[in-house]
Structures are given as C-alpha cells and as structure tokens.
Amino acid sequence: MRDYFLKFWEGLYTIMIGMKVTFRHLFVPSVTIQYPTVKPQLPERERNRLYVNMDDCIGCDQCSRACPVSCIEIETVKSTPGDDLGKTSNGKKKALWVTKFDIDFAKCCYCELCVPPCPTDCIYMTDVYEFSEFERDSLLYDFATLTQEEREIKKKNFKEFQVKKEAEKAAAAKKAAEAKAAAQKEKPNAKTDKPTDDKKGTD
C-alpha cells in the first residue's frame, strides 16, 4: 500500500520537476538563428567548396591523384618553346598549359586531401557553402582559364610542335643514318628499318 502511493507520488513529483525545467526554458533565449537572413560566422579553417587559383596552377596533377573519389580531372598540354606561361607566385616556372581542370562537386567529399600536396598552394577550400543546383551537371566546375578556342589552339600548337619536332628528329636521324650509311656502306640491312620507323612516328 505504501509503495502504491509512493509510486504515485514519485511519478507526480518527477513530472513536476520536468515541467519546471521546460517552463524555465520558455524564457531562455533561442540558440537557433534565422538562417538565410542571419548567417553564422564561419571559422577560418572552414572546409567547403574548393577553389583553384589558376594563375598559380602548374598542372602537376598532384591534387587529382590525392583525391579519394576522383572528382578532379586535369588535362595538360606541354608548352611550345616561345610560349610565355609566366611564373607562379612562389616563383615556380610553369611549363604546362592546363586545358582542363574540372572539379565535380557532386562527387567531392570535402576531405581536403587535395590541398596539402599542391606545390604552389593554388588549390584551397573556401567558406562558400551555398551552391546547390537543380542540375547535376551544373556542379561540374571548370577552373581552367583558357577559352575553348585557346585550348584547341594550344593542343594544335603542341601537336604541330610535336610533328615539327618529330620531323626534325626524323630528319636528324635520317641525316645521321645517311652519314652512317655513307661511312659504312657494307651493312645496309640493319639501317633500312630505321628510317621507316621514323616515318611512322611522323605520320
């Protein structure tokens, strides 16, 4: 009988205590904020959308290799002699045209593994976190600064340069072969292959 009433009383008492707590909280100022109108101050180490400072990028592909989800795609074209690519801010000389630097933020997992390997500190995470899109394709960000035409030109230039170089090489090889052939007329068998090989390369 005593337990019966004790239990009843305990129930009422603990409920009262709980009600006291919640009642007190009616007058505690809110901890939430009105998000789109009021925005929280984000800490400086915030890890959100990546940004690539293409002025400094040397196209070394380190970030792409560090990425665990392969969301960074980089394509580069070697520069031809005479191109001035400039220098990065920490004095490294650029040698590659970056014709493609895509980051797919639909894949990105914001782990920051791509940041430390960068030799010029040109890829880093910003505090931009509002970049939702209606199309998945819109999350594919292209950071490369060259226009499409420029990219084609660079590719073409490099190809031409390569052709030229190959041709030069072939010519040089031919010359050398001829020189050799002239020097050693006795062994023609071995030499006949080589020029054809070079031809293939130039094609």
Binding site: T14, P43, R45, C109
Partner: protein
C-alpha cells in the same frame, strides 16, 4: 468455440521514424507481443571494404569517417592507430593528447545523439533538442579545428591535419563549464522521470553471459555489469595517464542490463569523458603535429588487428598489407554490427513499443552496420 488467432507479421522499416536509419525489422507479433524479430540489414551498404582496396592508405581515412558518422573522429583514430602500429611510427606526444581530447569530445557528442534520440523514441522530444544543442557546441569545436563538422579527416596516419585552433582550449573549457549543469538538467527532465523509468527499467534485459557470447562491447556490455573498457583493459594512446572511472550498470531502477542501465551508463560516461578532457587540456605538451606524418605510406607486408573503444564499443580494424600502396584487405569489426545480432534475443516477449525502446538503447548506427 475456440477463437481462431494468427500471428501478425509487421514490417518495421526500412523507412520508419525510429529504426535509426534504414534498418528493416520483421516482427512476428501475437497481438502486440513480440514472438520473433528478424533484422534485415544492408540497405546502406557502401562497399567500404571494396573501396579501400582501391585506395591508397591515406585515402581510406575519409571513407572511415563515413562508417559511424556520429563518431567519425574515433573511426579515424582507430585506423590511424592500426596503420601506425603496422608501420612502426612513433607519434609525438602532443598528437596523442589532441587525439584523446578529440576522441572524448566525440564520445560525448555521440552519446548526446544516442540519449537524445532515445528520448525521442520514448516520446519525449524536448531532451532530444537539448542534447543536439550541446552537441552543436562540440561540433563547433571540431569545425574550428579542422573545418568540418561531421566528416573530419582530421586524424592522419602519424599525425593530424591541423594543430589546435588558438581558441580551442578556451572554448573547450567554456563548454565543459556549461555542459555540467545541462547534464543535470537532462537527468531531471528525462533520466529520472517516472514515466521514462517505467518504460525502460526491466525492459530488454541483456544478461552478462549472453552479452559476452554475442560479442557485445562498449557501454552495452558495461551496462550488463562487466567492467570492460579497452581504454583501461588494452590501453592505447595516452589513456593510461588520466584518472577516470569506468561506470558499470548497477540495476538501480530494475535489473542489471536493462534499457535504463544502458541509457544511464552513457550519461555517466559523458561525465567521465569530461574528466579526461579536463585533465588532458591541462597536461597537453607542445610539439609539431605533422612531424611524424610519413611522406609515402607504404607499410611492410603483414597484417594487424587493432581495436579502440569507440562510443559504441570495440571498433577493430583488421588490415592486411601486401607491401604495396593499397591495402589488400581492410575488415572493420563494427561494434553496432555485432551488437545488432543480440537484438532479437532482447526483444522476445516484449511489446512493439519496447522494440523501439530496446533498439534505441543499444545505440546502433546503420552506417556502421552496413559499412
């Protein structure tokens, strides 16, 4: 005339408010009494183990974050520890201290989610938001340190991605100061509420023998009355330098190993974690947190099983290295995966409403069960 009755099969989940994710339970009911429970898992399978075979060792860390997403810090901790033992890396003292602080903060954050959602499962919604309010401050501490709130990629093999933020110590001290009264408030509001005790005491009792045989670890095992904590029993990092207690279930409100014990052990563990953090931030030495990070993670051929005391129990990493840059096998012994097996045993003979109470009390995370 005999009344014809039949068992009802009730499908709970994968979309259900209180299965804590995408767990599907097949309940066989007689009225509201549970005859049997068949859990079906795998709805959140993200192929962690297959993925990690294709990754280099440091790249696995972001994936470990995504297993137990409520205790990411500890997942990284365990993985980093395993790799360091495999490679024989000596980690600077400061790193160890920071890891312990982060781990314990993460334990508090994880337990807060567990307790809050448990309250919500039982029907009290307010404690849930109070818990989340406090957790938010811990997440802010993580955010200022490493820039992310949930999936940190903070603990690296041999070191940390960042040193502590200059404000970190001050903010942590403030948090501890504010958190203690909040914990008392939680007790007033929920833990000692008569209805809550009525709902949880003597429900889902897990006897110690069964618990060990089923491999249950962590707070659930301790609630069944065994003083077993890897931080003390198989010490790692610098845990042996601190003074703290291992709370054990006492059956205060019902029998040992009931839901209330499992609930309250977590409340008490948070207090102990606060003690550890307080001591650790007093003792923390200076040093460089990145000095021991290897340039190239290429462990020797071999295998290792390393375990840590995750907020949910024993988190084990079984790593086989074939001497290349990618692991040959990473098997995770996920505490929730093991604990989930004992669930049907706990439920038999209780009611539908108790399924929710028991499921909440064993505190599973589906991300970890399915990996």
């Amino acid at each position: 005339m005999a009344l014809k009755t039949e068992e009802m099969v009730l499908n709970m989940g994968p979309q259900h408010p209180s299965t804590h994710g995408v767990l599907r339970l097949e309940l066989q009911l007689e009225g509201e009494i549970i005859k049997d429970v068949i859990p079906h898992i795998g709805y959140l399978h993200r192929c962690f183990e297959k993925h990690s075979e294709a990754m280099t060792y440091p790249q696995v860390i972001p994936y470990t974050d995504r297993m137990d997403y409520l205790a990411s810090m500890y997942n990284e901790f365990g993985y980093a520890l395993a790799m360091e033992r495999l490679m024989g890396i000596e980690v600077p003292e400061r790193v160890e201290y920071i890891r312990v602080i982060m781990g314990e903060l993460q334990r508090i954050a994880s337990h807060l989610v567990a307790l809050g959602t448990y309250g919500a499962d039982i029907g009290a919604f307010t404690p849930f938001l109070f818990c989340f309010r406090d957790r938010e401050r811990i997440l802010h501490l993580f955010e200022i340190t490493c820039g992310a709130r949930l999936l940190y990629n903070y603990i690296w093999i041999g070191g940390l991605s960042n040193d502590l933020h200059p404000d970190f110590i001050r903010l942590t001290k403030e948090f501890i100061k504010d958190f203690k009264p909040n914990l008392k408030e939680l007790n007033d509001l929920l833990s000692f509420n008569a209805i809550f005790i009525e709902r949880t005491a003597d429900v889902g009792i897990l006897p110690l023998e069964t618990a060990i045989n089923y491999g249950v670890t962590g707070p659930n095992l301790r609630a069944s009355g065994m003083k077993w904590d890897l931080r003390k029993d198989d010490p790692y990092s610098v845990y042996n330098k601190f003074d703290y207690e291992i709370p054990v279930g006492s059956g205060e409100k019902g029998k040992i190993g009931d839901c209330w014990d499992r609930y309250f052990i977590r409340v008490r563990e948070m207090e102990e974690s606060l003690k550890i953090i307080e001591q650790a931030i007093e003792q923390i030495p200076d040093g460089d947190v990145k000095s021991a990070i290897p340039k190239r993670v290429k462990p020797p051929e071999g295998q290792i099983y390393t375990r840590v005391e995750n907020p949910r129990g024993e988190l084990g990493y079984f790593i086989i290295s074939d001497g290349s840059l990618n692991p040959s096998r990473v098997k995770v012994r996920a505490p929730s995966f093991v604990t989930m097996q004992v669930f049907p045993e706990l439920c038999k003979g209780f009611m539908v409403a108790d399924v929710v109470a028991i499921l909440g009390s064993i505190d599973i995370v589906l991300g970890e069960i399915d990996r």
